[in-house]
Amino acid sequence: MKPTRLSMVLLLWAARLGAQGVVIAPHAVFIDARTRSGAVLLYNPNPDPAEVAISFFFGYPATDSAGRIVVRTVEHPDSTSPSAASWIQAFPRRLTVPPLERQTIRLLASPPPGLADGEYWARLVISAKGGQLPVTGVADTAKVKVGLTLEVRTIIGVFYRKGAVRTGVTLSGLRTAVVGDSLAVWARLTQQGNAAYIGSAHAALLDSTGKTLAELKAPIGVYDAMEPRWALPIGALAPGRYRLRLDLSTGRDDLAPELVLPSPPVRDSVEVRVP
């Protein structure tokens, strides 16, 4: 194709560039050892086809030194790691989702024989890019034009459960600090049992009468030991003594109740002094 014609094509494509993206559901896949299969649905709401590639790796949410939750990737998990990344396959692994259509990705688990009871994890990577090209402007081949295409990789959790699975969490080291107009909260959370602790954290700042002055609710997944940091917006707090209460429970309104492993609630509290 001649450069001028190519530029015209780019111009036409770019002119109708709208939002590009693929809807992925669900955002976590739970596979039972009795069926060994799962599914992820992709829906393309856009006028252009979306090219999608599927892959797996082993990793899980953890915290960095600042308490931020990040995905810890384990490139070479050893035999004791609860990794399912090497024995779960996706069908198909590459596909094109036509405009306004849906496609189902089937997940099939082929665990090694003698696998112990418990929960095994993998992260599913869904790479999607639209058919758009990025550059706008008039078709003038004497100019230098620059544009970058944006490709999206979405990572969701895959959980394979075999036999008796149980979970729990311990909470320790709860502490706070006033940072600007927020109350920073840290705690050490350690997963118990043979499955990840999937639940919610609820932090509440109470005054001496027990009245809630500020609160924060956030989903949490504890796969090992972690020390997350939360920030409660508290504004200008009068000097005095308060109490920070942190509750962990397995209630999650974004997951079906039958998928969430129950565990008794865990609570701790600490005094907060504002000078």
């Binding site: 559901a25 669900p26 599914a39 709401p45 230098v144 979405t154």
Partner: protein, 174 residues
Amino acid sequence: MSRPGLAGLLLLGLLVPRAGLSQGVGGSVAIDANVIGQALTVTTLSNLNFGSVPKGVATTVQPTAAGAGAWQIQGSKNADVSVTFVLPALLTNIQALPGSTMPVSFGATSARWNRATNNVAAATVFNPSVGTTGKLGPPANPFLYIWIGGTVTPAAAAKPGIYTGTIIVTIAYL
């Protein structure tokens, strides 16, 4: 209604059984039932576009500029997501002979993220080479927005044409 919101409705509509239409074998219906749940959508709102740039002069697009790349993430309220990038160092002229390239760089303030609302002015700055962890908005606005800019440095003798590359953003649901 926002485009992702409409997409969610369409998705639900596709999954609702309709009277008089075959639902296929029982197995496929069961699988469809399993995948109904909270959806996660990462939408590219705009690509990073420098437009026409002068030869021999570095050109920067700030993340607050109209040419910045932008994404919208929609998912579970208040959920944490990890945001990381794979960034190119060179762009390729897709109209010239092979080997015609242009450096591109990203600084410590080249990216921003904002919870709930599409407001880059109020967004938090971060280094795209390092990545960040963001939080989706509350129930009324379970969104997270990301913007990215960058700097290109065309040589004085840069060949004319269209230079392009790919930025890969990885969104991990935590």
